[in-house]
Point group: C2
Chain length 441, copies 2
């Protein structure tokens, strides 16, 4: 088996077009899936628990007499945690502790206490920050069931102060993933239901007799789950709909090529649509990585997935210099950006768009996926141009505060009335003008 990863050279006149072509990814919006999801949502809205039970029987081959029978109690979650090997439990605990620590710091840094200030006339303005009341966490069953995702979604919600986190996870054929349940216990998830698909999204968005309505739904899922999340957006909040995972490695050619090849693999093994790109000013180094890719491929259990991903969506890009590499990194706005170079900070300073930056040759992306602390839920498909890693801020919201003094109302009232008349809104103007006459009170 040989992989021929495509090679680009930034001096090629067609380079920008070639790069755009390999980056292009159209989120498939299958109308049939959308309609099916909508039908399920409507049914859950109407029939509640009964509809969820029917779909769970149909899609997961799990037959339950009542929704209550599909809830996993705290004792069972704790038992899953207790059943782990000591090494695995310790690793999970280290990861949870570090993720919690990072998000605690993030909470303290983003003005979670809000602010107020008082003007000379006594008017107080400010902002109040509050956690969401209740959050739903979708966890996929099957091959994409990652306990690390449970930590990464539930812990920031709990750090934000969300009183109730409700997890849903389908168990096709009744098979439970003990590591997922252990992660739920460890991260403080409040309730767990073994349901999935659009029916679980509907149950969380609208509430049923058994499942309480949430304010926001987070977590990855298949195409039906994604379609259902899009449809319930507005009734509840949702996180980003994630595209395939991506890594962009910017390397100055001084890191062991085997390390970089393995970093490219670590993204490619996720999914045939995953994208791994290496950018480097040293053509000979790109050759070495290409050689390492083929030498190491055979030893990878997921070599088929890796081969498809690297062949269809991978690229090795020769650039003029590291400055140009940074420009290209800003264009790509990758989910994961590794800067594997001497003095990586000088290049990081030039980066405006990336989900997460891994700086220096010891910062492999996989450390961030599991345990470094920052969130592994990151913006994909160039959305890092306008969106952020999942964080404490996604589980909080702000309310503006305006306490206008009698004195303030005199000044502001005249301004507001002038502008309201300009917009033809007389009641607005008069409402402000009434406050100009404190004698009326």
């Amino acid at each position: 088996m040989t992989i021929n990863i495509r090679r680009f050279d930034s001096t090629d006149p067609d380079f920008k077009a070639q790069l755009a072509a390999v980056l292009a990814f159209e989120a498939s919006e299958d109308e049939a899936i959308d309609r099916a999801a909508l039908r399920i949502l409507d049914d859950v809205k109407k029939r509640g628990d009964a509809a969820v039970l029917d779909y769970t029987k149909q899609f997961d081959q799990v037959e339950a007499g009542s929704m209550a029978a599909l809830e996993i109690g705290r004792a069972d979650l704790q038992a899953a945690l207790d059943s782990l090997s000591p090494a695995r439990r310790a690793a999970l605990q280290t990861a949870a502790d570090r993720v919690r620590d990072y998000h605690e710091r993030q909470k303290n840094e983003i003005g979670s206490s809000g602010f107020t200030y008082t003007e000379a006339d006594g008017t107080v303005l400010g902002q109040k920050v509050t956690p969401l009341d209740r959050v739903g966490l979708y966890v996929p069953g099957g091959k994409a069931a990652y306990p690390s995702s449970v930590l990464m979604n539930a812990i920031p919600a709990k750090v934000a102060g969300v009183p109730e986190v409700i997890m849903v996870v389908p168990t096709p054929g009744g098979v439970k993933n003990e590591l997922v349940l252990a992660a739920a216990a460890m991260s403080g998830v409040d309730r767990v239901f073994t349901i999935g698909g659009a029916q679980a999204v509907g149950a969380l968005a609208y509430g049923t007799a058994t499942i309480p309505q949430v304010d926001k739904i987070v977590g990855p899922g298949n195409a039906y789950v994604a379609a259902a999340k899009r449809r319930v957006f507005g009734t509840v909040g949702i996180d980003m709909i994630a595209g395939p995972s991506e890594i962009l490695v910017v390397c100055d050619g001084t890191t062991d090529p085997d390390w970089i090849a393995m970093d490219l693999f670590s993204q490619a093994e996720h999914d045939e649509l995953a994208q791994s790109i290496l950018v480097c000013p040293d053509a000979a180094y790109l050759d070495k990585v290409a050689e390492s890719v083929n030498r190491q491929l055979e030893s990878m259990p997921r070599k088929d997935t890796i081969t498809t991903s690297l062949t269809n969506r991978g690229a090795l890009v020769k650039v003029r210099d590291m400055d140009e590499a940074c420009e290209i990194a800003n264009l790509i706005a990758a989910e994961h950006l590794e800067i594997s170079a001497e003095n990586p900070q000088q290049w990081a300073d030039k980066i405006r768009h990336a989900g997460a930056m891994f700086l220096g040759r010891f910062s492999s992306e996989s450390l961030g996926d599991y345990c470094a602390g920052p969130n592994h839920v990151l913006p994909t498909s160039r959305t890092a141009r306008f969106s952020s890693p999942l964080g404490v801020y996604d589980f909080q919201k702000r309310s503006s505060i305006l306490m206008v003094s009698e004195g303030g109302a005199q000044t502001l009232g005249k301004v507001a009335a002038e502008l309201a008349y300009g917009e033809g809104l007389q009641a607005h103007a008069r409402s402000a003008e009434y406050r100009l006459k404190p004698g009326l009170q």
Copy 2:
């Protein structure tokens, strides 16, 4: 003309159901509008400027030889500003200054400088905050053309540090709104194009030969604009799709009833679907406000809109006490919440969900609409349960930073490898393990 605003009493056994019924608002997702918007978007994606010119001719009756002819230059924006009466210009300037001041403080409070921290082994973790590169601002033409919206959308973007704000505003029949152009000049909008509808959204989202592609589109619009924004979400960021505007007044019965009646009008005059609700423990006070509503109605230029809005969607709610009023306010999660009462802070402390809180009898909502400083773009239709006022944070995004030291890689690498093997991701594990052997480097 007489308005009979519906009356509720919280002791009525059906109260919760009655309240839910009056709050219910289904964002109309008209499939025909959605399909029309999609068709226009696809055409703009394919034909660029030519398509935008065609739709502008068709929908706005504006015929232009080129897109360049539809751009309004800086000199014309400045001329619009210079043409304002001194009083109106001064009012607009005061509003702009106060909005800028509030958002500057917000920027300083939300950790806009990011953070980093260094662990004992030298590992550095943190978060970098950067502004978006380019933002599109949609401003409606026609009756909903509010210059205050230009200030409220453009100023936070500029405070966030967005280098380029591109405004689009349709000019049906070629009629320009000078106050809107003046507001654009005052708030530092970089370029203005007189285009609108789904075609303007498409031009901003995909870019054309003349109109640069943006990273996020904000601002209100009609049903076609909303449908187009939903469709381009993912290619670019979008702000919330706003529902009809709402005010909830919680009053202890000590404010002049004419003031409160006018506050209810100031919301109702926006739109027949707007919602005004008053909650008070004093039944006699509710009678007084109902009387005032009917007494003052005749003098309102928009009395027809007000009558429809208050009749169909308004309510006067008698509650047991102010504590219950606050519980109901949390349930309603209103866009605008006025707490018109003695010592309003004691009640504000009990509020978890509201877009903006106006505290005390001098804080009429209209002051916030125009000039108090906080943003008037606020979450509607109960979305304040999970979302926030438009703010500086909507024009910034965060990137995680991970710089793992050689020592850190030894500790974290073992944890990551253990968990990666647990998830069946061998390349992840090996990528971490490579860093356990610094000798290889």
